[in-house]
Subunit: 177 residues, 2 copies
């Protein structure tokens, strides 16, 4: 089975970086709870919005992002049993490309470069399963579309869900040898 | 119709850069004719081979590559009529990612970031047509596989061929309004 896995909010915690940079620039600390069903750019004062919108376009934004809980060990187990590809819609953010590649080398060295994809829209990918936090990626995918829960998508309905990586152990039967 | 187009030797002349850097490092000028059916690393003296093999892994190798003849105007016409995606197996060469993105911005700005893909193996791509110079990419593609002629693939048989971009005008019926 070929399983495609998105990076931001699924493997790497980019929201933590948004909160960190916003705190650095404006001295205001939002919590992940305040982002329930939305994104930082929609809840900050309107005058701050252009700055927040530029964050992911800046060099360094995607470097050394924290890991999403249990992603390393569960994706390693998935990779041992299935054909795992990492598929990130990274093309919007030019400087993310090298940083994401480095990040995978550091935290997911077992994912060979042949199994890494940086793309634009995900309609062009062929696989059995896509695990992603965004409805706009899942909706154009031709296989089984699984929404990985993230603060911003908690109000989305209509997709099969993976609430965390621990749940994937059962969903993909990883504990059976 | 969704048409996927490879970059090196199809849009961008990476062989020219190999020859240029080899001349710079060893003072020997090979011609494209000497590369008929092979690649530079296989015809240089064995002692030079490791150096040549490292070229594409170095920063700057993919920057400002010359264009393959007529690629700009024909791909623009293709893009006006069809869903064109650029699909480069760039993941092997980390430093190529940003350079290739910049190169597309400069020479193919009409290809939106949503239609750009940097991948490993191309079995994961879904499309009607793949235009590529390598049999190992064409052989794993599920759609119509078209070999774009390059010095190194001149001895390959068994694929439909596009010998140059002018030929694509007829193949894809681009001159009919």
């Amino acid at each position: 089975m070929r399983i495609l896995i998105d990076m931001d909010e699924v493997m790497a915690d980019a929201i933590a970086r948004f909160l960190e940079w916003y705190q650095r620039d404006f001295g205001i600390t939002y919590t992940e709870e305040q982002l329930h069903g939305t994104k930082l750019q929609y809840i900050v004062p309107e005058a701050h919005r252009p700055t927040v919108r530029q964050y992911a376009h800046q060099r360094g934004f995607f470097a050394n992002l924290p890991l999403i809980a249990n992603s390393q060990e569960v994706i390693r187990a998935l990779n041992d049993k299935h054909e795992v590809y990492i598929a990130s819609a990274a093309m919007e953010f030019k400087y993310s490309l090298e940083e994401k590649h480095d990040w995978l080398d550091e935290y997911f060295p077992f994912i060979h470069w042949k199994r890494r994809i940086f793309c634009g829209d995900k309609s062009v990918l062929k696989g059995d399963v896509l695990i992603d936090d965004h409805a706009f990626n899942l909706s154009v995918f031709s296989g089984r579309a699984i929404m990985f829960s993230a603060t911003h998508n908690m109000l989305e309905t209509g997709y099969e869900r993976l609430n965390n990586w621990q749940e994937a152990r059962q969903l993909f039967d990883l504990d059976t040898p």
